[in-house]
């Protein structure tokens, strides 16, 4: 870490963080203090594993996506050997970005300023008029800087910390739930199938909290529920009164909220009839697939019955990936990545797209209401700077297992408490 970065970190008093992030309440300053935000970039986003892409988005050599980790632009690219590289999107000469497309396929990356050219593995291939660099520059010493890369079930994570713990250790207790989530491919690999992106004027942790906040669902999303059939509405909100639905901390700030316990493991056929709205689809699929496969595909259309929150920026949420990107202390970008079956039946993948469009995105029936609620939290947090944000729901019924995982009812705030405990642990690092 450079001296400059170290100086930025020291803008907050880490010894007092316990006062800002207690076990059951947090200070509103966590949403609106610019110094806290700067420290979060340094101590969380530039340190830990951050999700950057899914392998299905980069099927061929040369396929790339650009994104940012915190403020730092990076390129996620598959090279000629098939390896995934995550490279800082910054020419080693004078610092210009070498790629500004969201995604595409390239043979290499050329800086627009002086034409320094890099390979898909980041190696500096060429620089024009090299006589001015003879004896000064060794090209092998000036590649695009690489991040550490870890992949689990096609989920690509990257870290600026080359000595970070292995990704699988970091995911820890979340791994079995990732395995269950990926079963919604119904026998086919899960693929990213388009995405919605939107911004809201609020701190990133407001969104982080939301993924395992099932308490808000019937309130904020009432207008969406009025537009779906009664069968689905009843299934998706049964968690409010079900004692089988639960929220659980999984270690390392990860957490889980199970809202439909009947569809946690999509391999298990509970014998329920095909929902009325998918009867025609099932009949059509039956021409190409055996009955048990048809049932499995239809069972998977709405995804799994849980949301899995992976600290700090990814959630596997029922039928889609939710990715958050902090833009500033009071602005956050959200991506909702739609999922499909790679090589699966096109008509079923289209049905999944329509489910996604119905709720997600800036013009969906659900996301705009989430964004409104989150912006109201951000605005309200400026009132009463000494009045804490409460994350204490369910403390009276939370149990702790031998492995340390805490469980309470699905509507409880166990997941938020787990995220804030990890947040504090990382922020208190020196």
């Amino acid at each position: 870490m450079s001296d400059f970065q170290t100086t930025a970190c020291q803008a907050i008093d880490t010894s007092a963080l316990y006062k800002r992030a207690e076990a059951d309440r947090v200070s509103p300053s966590l949403y609106n203090d610019p110094a806290i935000f700067e420290a979060e970039l340094e101590r969380i986003f530039y340190k830990t594993w951050v999700w950057v892409a899914h392998e299905s988005e980069l099927p061929k050599p040369g396929d790339f996506r650009t994104t940012t980790i915190g403020r730092q632009p990076v390129i996620v690219v598959r090279d000629k050997t098939g390896e995934i590289n995550v490279l800082e999107n910054r020419c080693r000469h004078r610092g210009a970005t070498v790629c500004e497309q969201h995604k595409g396929n390239a043979r290499g990356f050329t800086c627009p300023y002086h034409s320094w050219t890099y390979g898909l593995d980041g190696a500096l291939r060429a620089l024009p008029y090299g006589d001015g660099y003879e004896g000064i520059v060794d090209k092998t010493e000036l590649p695009l800087k690489s991040l550490r890369v870890g992949i689990y079930h096609g989920l690509i994570f990257a870290s600026f910390d080359q000595s970070i713990e292995p990704l699988e250790d970091f995911l820890g207790g979340a791994k079995p739930w990732i395995d269950l989530f990926m079963k919604q491919g119904a026998g086919f690999p899960v693929k990213a199938n388009g995405e919605h992106k939107f911004k809201f004027k609020g701190n990133w942790k407001i969104q982080l909290e939301n993924t395992t906040d099932l308490y808000h669902f019937p309130v904020v999303h009432k207008s969406w529920m009025k537009t779906i059939d009664d069968e689905t509405a009843a299934a998706i909100t049964s968690f409010m009164t079900s004692d089988k639905a639960f929220c659980r901390s999984l270690g390392n700030g990860h957490s889980l909220a199970v809202l439909v316990p009947e569809i946690v493991d999509l391999d298990e056929d509970n014998g329920a009839p095909i929902p009325t709205r998918y009867e025609a689809l099932a009949e059509s699929l039956a021409a190409d697939y055996p009955p048990d496969q048809v049932r499995r595909i239809v069972r998977s259309l709405m995804g799994v019955g849980f949301n899995l929150n992976l600290f700090p920026n990814l959630a596997l949420s029922m039928a889609f990936f939710r990715v958050l990107r902090p833009i500033s202390v009071e602005e956050t970008e959200i991506r909702h990545v739609a999922l499909g079956m790679d090589g699966g039946p096109e008509e079923a993948n289209r049905a999944r797209l329509r489910v996604h469009e119905h709720f997600q995105g800036p013009f969906g029936f659900g996301s705009p209401d989430d964004a409104e609620a989150w912006e109201r939290v951000q605005r309200g947090s400026h009132a009463g700077p000494d009045v804490p944000i409460l994350v204490n729901r369910g403390l009276n019924r939370e149990t702790t297992a031998a492995n340390g995982e805490k469980t309470a009812h699905a509507t409880d705030e166990t997941g938020m408490r787990a995220a804030y405990a990890k947040w504090r642990e990382m922020m208190e690092q020196q």
Partner: protein, 165 residues
């Protein structure tokens, strides 16, 4: 008289433009039930993400509404249950730069530029788009067969909204 004004003198073109302006006024007024009446039951309202998309059913869109989904969208916008709609931005939109083509006697395709200024809580946000209307004129009353709103920033992160484009 320039070429555009000359075109406005053509009855079909003028009828289509007046129809699109009426739709724009209805949407700024948020009279969504009146907006539903402008549509052919077979019509599709589409806000694509991919700027080059033409097979909308096969790709993810911001909106891809057949008659049933359009009715549900209007139901939601009129329900009083949606916090983003209850406190939606006020909008003023202009639609211009019309060009028209036709591949049948009763149906016209009108392309236009649409700029919406959405005002909410002290902030005005622009939504600029190329718009394509396909309008059926066969039944006396014009009816929208397809409306495609191609936002110029469709692949970027947008602001969530509680109104219609």
């Amino acid at each position: 008289m320039d070429a555009t004004n000359a075109l406005l003198m053509q009855p079909v073109f003028a009828e289509a433009v007046q129809f699109i302006w009426r739709e724009a006024e209805i949407l700024d007024r948020k009279d969504y039930r009146a907006w539903l009446e402008l549509w052919s039951p077979k019509g599709f309202y589409v806000v694509p993400i991919d700027p080059l998309a033409t097979d909308f059913a096969a790709t993810l869109n911001y909106a891809y509404d057949d008659h049933a989904m359009r009715a549900l969208r209007v139901q939601r916008l009129s329900s009083g249950y949606s916090p983003s709609v209850t406190d939606a931005a006020r909008t003023v939109r202009t639609v211009s730069r019309f060009t028209m083509s036709s591949d049948s006697a009763d149906v016209v395709n009108v392309r236009s530029a649409q700029v919406i200024v959405a005002y909410k809580r002290g902030v005005s946000t622009l939504f600029a788009a190329d718009v394509e209307h396909r309008i059926d004129l066969s039944d006396g009353e014009p009816r929208i067969v397809q409306k495609v709103v191609r936002l110029i920033d469709s692949t970027d992160a947008l602001n969530a909204i509680g109104f219609l484009l």
